[in-house]
């Protein structure tokens, strides 16, 4: 017997707000978080715009990195909403994080360059310094930061590049569904807005070189030039429905399916036939016991690279046939930029709000749609519409494709059509 898995808490630190409520208000209002890159003189630097979080109360003196601080705050918000502090010790809890190694700091690189043997004389650093680097143990630390009273079973960290966020949500969902844990925190974070992080993504040819922040992130528009690098964190608490009801915690939405495939094509390219992506969506629907006719909304990966726009559009057509033109599809990244390993979780948070509020966030900056991208991308303004069943897509470098199915919660599950 499969368990039903509900969302009982959400949290986020996004370029559009320091908590999930503000993030949702701004994203449904169609606001852009993209700003000029001002951390250093960009006269000769190829990247001019970013979506950072200048208002984030970063504690410079803290032992935690910026990524860890954001992860902690977003997770705390989700944990508070789900009332994890009153969890019984009998509850089996899991922690799943999407993270990636921080690129080396410029200062550290320079030090290494100046003295290649520096490592041999490295002064003893601290455990926290070690933890910032060994991201695999961050999931365990997160349990400590949240003071989880319940005993933590799995504590795992995934790095599947831009798809990791969705994979983390999907894996946490599966663990709860099959009874490995009763309650799971699925969180993601990423802060790569620094010289090296930007340079790396420049070498991939995926970052926009647009200088005007207002128009820089324009997925599905003929003038798009790539994505805008963002930072942030997000978290969801997923829980066995019976467990949530016993605790008296209100379900916000239900996760019903997850599908994952591997492209096995090229590291940073998608196969142009769209099949690896459409197969992921189909597997997720099959897993959820939903037919394509029942899907009311798709939260697109929608990075704003030409390839993603075309292949994702094609894959949606393959899955939905003639109905593809009737399904609203939107790209949150048109407003928030792309926060890599955090993006999938952040978009799952947005999708939970979408099914709760029956309000579909828009794709902004879509002024001149690419003729090859002719679906309904909900341009410019949010749309009031009932959403029972939504898909959230994420596709990552390395060829990972994943889709999560998120539904409006109803005590009796809507009959499968």
């Amino acid at each position: 017997m499969k368990r039903r898995v509900v969302v009982t808490g959400v949290g986020s630190v996004s370029p559009l707000g320091l908590n999930a409520t503000t993030h949702w208000q701004n994203i449904s209002a169609g606001k852009s978080a993209v700003r000029p890159l001002t951390m250093f003189d960009t006269t000769h630097f190829p990247i001019k715009v970013i979506a950072d979080i200048p208002q984030f109360p970063f504690a410079e003196q803290s032992e935690l990195s910026r990524t860890q601080q954001m992860l902690r705050i977003a997770s705390q918000e989700a944990a508070d909403q789900a009332q994890l502090h009153v969890l019984s010790e009998q509850s089996r809890c899991g922690i799943y994080c999407a993270l990636t190694g921080d690129w080396p700091q410029m200062s550290r690189l320079f030090q290494a360059y100046a003295d290649p043997l520096a490592w041999q004389h490295c002064t003893p650093a601290t455990l926290p310094g070690f933890a910032q680097r060994q991201i695999g143990i961050t999931a365990a630390l997160l349990g400590h930061w949240l003071s989880l009273t319940s005993s933590v079973r799995a504590a795992r960290v995934l790095d599947g590049a831009c798809a990791s966020g969705s994979e983390t949500v999907g894996e946490a969902f599966r663990q709860v569904r099959h009874g490995q844990v009763d309650i799971a925190l699925a969180a993601g974070a990423c802060c790569w807005i620094n010289v090296i992080g930007l340079i790396i993504y420049k070498t991939f040819g995926t970052l926009t070189t647009e200088e005007n922040p207002a128009e820089a992130s324009c997925p599905f528009d003929i003038q798009r030039k790539g994505f805008v690098m963002a930072e942030g964190a997000a978290a969801l608490v997923l829980e066995d429905l019976e467990h949530a009801l016993r605790r008296g915690v209100l379900p916000l939405a239900e996760v019903t399916g997850y599908g994952a495939t591997t492209s096995a094509y090229r590291a940073t390219d998608m196969p142009e036939d769209g099949v690896a992506l459409s197969r992921g969506m189909q597997l997720a629907l099959l897993d959820a016991g939903r037919r394509s006719e029942e899907v009311d909304y798709i939260n697109a990966h929608g990075t704003g690279t030409r390839q993603n726009d075309l292949v994702e559009t094609l894959a949606i057509r393959q899955v939905f046939g003639q109905r593809a033109w009737d399904i609203p599809i939107s790209s949150n990244k048109s407003m928030t930029g792309h926060s890599i390993t955090a993006a999938g979780v952040l978009e799952a948070v947005t999708t939970v709000k979408t099914v709760q509020e029956d309000l579909i966030p828009p794709t902004i900056n879509l002024h001149h749609p690419d003729p090859a991208c002719d679906l309904d991308y909900v341009p410019a303004h949010a749309r009031r519409q009932t959403v029972h069943v939504a898909l959230s897509n994420s596709f990552g470098f390395g060829g990972l494709n994943s889709t999560v199915v998120i539904e409006k919660f109803a005590r009796t599950r809507r009959a499968e059509a």
Binding site: P124, A131, G143, V152, R153, A155, R156, L158, S263, A264
Partner: protein, 434 residues
């Protein structure tokens, strides 16, 4: 808990290694049988330091097709060798398993880019005062950068290129940077196969702890033994004279399949992954709980998941990383997890032979466990001569133990307090549920 009849049985059909002891199963086993360790002094580093490296390993001789050489890092090249060996061993050349039903789960450790990659660009960025100048870096340095620096430093570099070369298009996931990473990859692969998400999954663990930047990180918390007077004899798990682990490097790969698929194609079956369990001491970062913390809980979870009673366990492959606090903690945890007769279950650890393989430990040690079953021989814990009084268990010491263990329990632990336990079974017919 699901009962066995609604989930698939998961069997192991292919093994592949790329370890400091060798690149093929026979060489590795024969060296272990002769009590040979791969740990040596590391001449490029300061005296007193040891580790286990793949000697004379040149990626250009091993990575195929050659055109991907410039896109893969050293740790990935180990993984590619292990993956190819495992797939060959399982007899699943391309097309034998439907590519869309063939997944890949990896546990990857060190794979980040190395600072050296940036040196040519940094050289151009030094201004007249000898200082780093960002404008100059952007203007002149960027052109000097290897255009593939981003690819080689992708966290899922190994997963990416193995899936491409071997056409693995099923579900995939990459667990990172901890001593439990590839045990977690095995666990999730088992989960996916049990519930029919794939027919077969390649699980690969790889790490590169002998890399200078990894050493620096572990040194910074004083974890490694850095002043070994006898390098080869320094890694001595559970011994009173232990002083910390020595790093290793390498990879291990397993082909897992549902029993149905493997039996149908007449595959050689090494054994089963019967179950797994995880538990985490979130409070114990850097200081293993002296009483073993939640290790007993992880063992309990694994036994329950495997539907195996504690009495059925024949052998324990311990994490045994030779650290003063870690070994005591582990021994206490095992002691508390098992009662009565079970405290006499033989325990061994393979880390003194291979060095600490980090994220690769789960897959490599599972393979070594299967070799022990196959050869009905359990190698002793090398260098263990005087067990710590706080670690009173039935360690296999001095000489190998002749026995054919049917059910084995493998333990992996991390600095962060994560415990991952895998239960491996041998004889399909003799196991419960069959």
């Amino acid at each position: 808990m699901s009962s066995s009849n609604e989930r698939n049985t998961v069997v192991i059909t292919g093994l592949g290694l790329a370890t400091p002891l060798g690149l093929d199963l026979d060489t590795v086993w024969s060296r272990i049988s002769q009590s040979e360790t791969a740990i040596k002094p590391m001449p490029h580093y300061l005296p007193g330091r040891g580790g286990a490296m793949l000697e004379d390993f040149y990626p250009e001789e091993h990575v195929r097709p050659k055109r991907i050489l410039r896109f893969v890092n050293r740790a990935t090249s180990f993984a590619m060798v292990a993956a190819r060996n495992a797939l060959e061993d399982a007899g699943v050349s391309e097309g034998v398993i439907d590519p869309e039903r063939f997944g890949i789960y990896t546990g990857t450790g060190e794979s980040e880019m190395k600072p050296e990659i940036y040196f040519p660009a940094l050289e151009k960025a030094i201004d007249e005062q000898g200082q780093f100048n960002l404008a100059q870096f952007a203007q002149e340095g960027l052109d000097q950068l290897d255009p593939y620096v981003g690819l080689t430093s992708l966290g899922n570099n190994a997963l990416c290129y193995i899936s491409i070369v071997h056409k693995l298009m099923g579900p995939s996931n990459n667990y990172v940077k901890s001593g439990v990473a590839s045990s977690q990859a095995i666990a999730e692969a088992v989960q996916a196969l049990r519930y029919g998400l794939a027919d077969a999954i390649l699980v690969v663990g790889n790490d590169w702890l002998t890399d200078p930047w990894a050493l620096a990180a572990y040194d910074s918390i004083g974890m490694l033994c850095t002043d070994c007077w006898d390098v080869a004899g320094s890694m001595r798990p559970f011994d009173a004279g232990r002083r910390g682990p020595l790093p290793g490097e390498g990879a291990g790969a397993l082909v897992l399949e549902t029993a149905q698929v493997a039996e149908k194609r007449g595959a050689h079956i090494y054994g089963q992954i019967l179950g797994y369990g995880e538990a985490t001491d979130t409070w114990s970062f850097g200081a293993p709980p002296p009483d073993g913390g939640v290790l007993p809980l992880a063992i309990e979870e694994a036994l329950a998941d495997a539907q195996v009673t504690p009495e059925q366990v024949d052998l324990i492959i311990a994490h045994g990383n030779s650290s003063p606090g870690g070994d005591t903690s582990e021994a206490q945890g095992i002691y508390h997890a098992l009662s009565g007769r079970l405290r006499h279950v033989p325990i061994t650890s393979t880390k003194p032979y291979t060095g600490h393989l980090g994220a690769a430990s789960g897959t490599v040690e599972t393979i070594l466990a299967l070799l022990m079953q196959q050869h009905a021989t359990v190698p002793p814990i090398l260098n263990l001569t005087e067990p710590d009084v706080a670690c009173s268990l039935n360690f296999v010491m001095n000489q190998s133990l002749k026995c054919a263990p049917n059910i084995l329990l493998h333990i992996a632990r991390s600095v962060g307090g994560q415990n991952a336990v895998i239960i491996i079974g041998k004889d399909l017919a003799a196991l419960p549920g069959k």
